[in-house]
Amino acid sequence: MSAPNSEIVGTRLKDLTPGAWLGRAFGVLILIVFALFFVVPLLWLLIAPTKTDRQLLLEAPFALGDLGTLLSNWQSLMTFQGGLIWTWIGNSVFYCVAALVITLCISIPAGYALAMTEFRGRKLLLVVTLIVMLIPSTALVLPIFLELSAVRLIGNPLSAILPFSFYPFGVYLTYIYFSTAVSRDLLSAARLDGASEWQVFMKIAMPLSTPVIALVGFFSFTGNWNNYFLPYVTLPGRKAPIQVGLAELLSNVPAFNPTNAASTTITLSALALATLLAIAPVLLVFLFAQRYLVSGMTAGGTKE
């Protein structure tokens, strides 16, 4: 087989045969085309709020608008139904932060218990956690809705916060972390020195678990922030988080709903700005915490 030898890790370009060089260039070309595919929509979203709808329609897609237009788009979005967008964003922050705190308070100890202690039912709990973790969270949305409406919690913030706080993947990550990164001998040594189980956890395990706390925190927060289906069914109207609110905004955009007779309307540029605001927190977390997130995703499956 005389296929181009483009795959060589760290080979210098000048050492390649012409065929190999072509193969390699083709590979790089494919990578760049896909990079554009992934990044172009986001770049456009950063630019769109600086333009008017007319500019969006007529000008080149990546021509910049100006700051004044951005401000007026901002104004029109902020005045929409008396600043409803801030209510939605506030709701999102409240639900996600509350869920984050509960998630950490229950997941970290549970992962520790699964990894470092022996108790009856441990194995069963671990297997059930694995199974539930692999079920897409949307699969349980309608059953959870039916359950919550049976106990009359629909419309109550708890109907988002409590289900958001159940995060088996977080427990699993913590379990993996403690069983691989923290040695049992260390804990045993502390016990022999007379430390109680509680002290062992608080004084030894907790200080070592900062990375996994950060990891579980990131995943829980971003996942809940982006969750649409559950709050859509349990928290309608003014109690909705921003993801649900965003879809709500859409019905006030005449460009997508020409028959809509709503008195206040949202322009396309303002909708783009709202989308940008809705993703901003998670995007920032992603940009600054990418390394953490990446290592965590790989840890999610490997268990060496």
Binding site: T11, P41, I135, N227, L250
Partner: protein, 310 residues
């Protein structure tokens, strides 16, 4: 009677009088239970009870057991099988896209010697993962509308003249698959890249010395060794794909009814609960979807080979 009680008590006392090692073990067991309990309660309340309640609702009507009536009613609904078909076609298109492109891109990125370039590419692929749910669909509404799209030339080349044309029934599964791919592929590329890094360099080097080219190495060594991870991706994506909801819902809202309110199974289950006030029918559909997800999940936990120690 009392003697028996007594001896049981003495036995218990005897058991409780331990050597030092025993008591540590028991203290551990106690703190283990204490630590696992709050989570276990959440697991029951939001993992197990909802499923049991859905089972109860699906097999009853007004509290009376009705066997499979709710399921039969749902299966006879004229909207059910088209929804199955929509979701099925979407999943096939999406899985093919995912497997072919994620594996290819991961191998290509991995083959790049320049570290900054490879790192930048992975980062760029991964960023859209920050967007999920409504916001990613919202962004794609703009991308798919030829009047404002950053790639309107491409849409026009594909013969798409309007937003409604872009979400036409014949194109919709592809559009949905592209949106899902855009959001999720980067994460999988990063995971596959990690799997490729775990393949020993000696094996690759030996193959190269034997005259294998990059395509041959990818096909005969790298892809077989990534098999577990590819299976993981396929099973997770299949389970996730059956749950299709937010994408067609937002598109339905934006396309003036071109995309149906009942396009996917979850949308239909939603309509049963919210428009027809038929919680039993809704539970029946949810249960069918949940059964698929649980089956895949159990299969993968026990056969997938990624969780051996569990």
């Amino acid at each position: 009677m009392s003697t028996i009680d007594n001896s049981a008590a003495t036995a218990a006392v005897a058991l409780e009088r331990p050597k030092k090692g025993m008591s540590i073990e028991r203290a551990q067991g106690r703190i283990g239970v204490l630590f696992a309990t709050p989570y276990t309660l959440f697991l029951i309340a939001f993992g197990i009870l909802p499923a049991l309640y859905a089972i109860y609702l699906a097999f009853t009507k007004k509290g009376a057991f009705v066997g499979f009536d709710n399921f039969l009613k749902v299966f006879k609904d004229y909207r059910f099988w088209p929804a199955v078909e929509h979701v099925g076609i979407f999943i096939v298109v999406w899985l093919v896209l995912l497997v072919v492109l994620v594996v290819t891109l991961a191998i290509l990125v991995h083959s790049i010697g320049l570290r900054w370039f490879s790192g930048t590419m992975r980062f760029v692929y991964y960023i859209p993962g920050a967007l999920a749910g409504a916001s990613s669909v919202m962004l794609w509404l703009f991308v798919l509308d030829p009047t404002v799209s950053p790639v309107s030339w491409l849409l026009q080349a594909l013969g798409i003249e309007s937003f409604v044309g872009a979400v036409d029934a014949s194109r919709l599964p592809i559009v949905l698959a592209v949106i899902a791919f855009w959001t999720g592929a980067g994460g999988w590329i990063v995971i596959m890249y990690g799997a490729l890094n775990n393949i020993s360099k000696d094996v690759i080097e030996a193959a190269r010395v034997d005259g294998a080219g990059p395509v041959r190495i990818a096909w005969s060594i790298q892809i077989p060794l990534m098999r577990k991870w590819i299976a993981y991706m396929v099973i997770m994506s299949f389970a996730g794909g059956t749950q299709l909801f937010v994408e067609p819902r937002v598109l339905a809202q934006a396309s003036r009814g071109v995309v149906g309110q009942d396009y996917s199974l979850n949308q239909l289950a939603f309509l049963y609960a919210f428009k027809q006030n038929d919680f039993n029918g809704s539970a029946a559909i949810s249960l069918v979807l949940l059964a698929v997800a649980v089956t895949l999940s159990i299969y993968f936990v026990f056969k997938g080979g990624l969780f051996e120690r569990a």
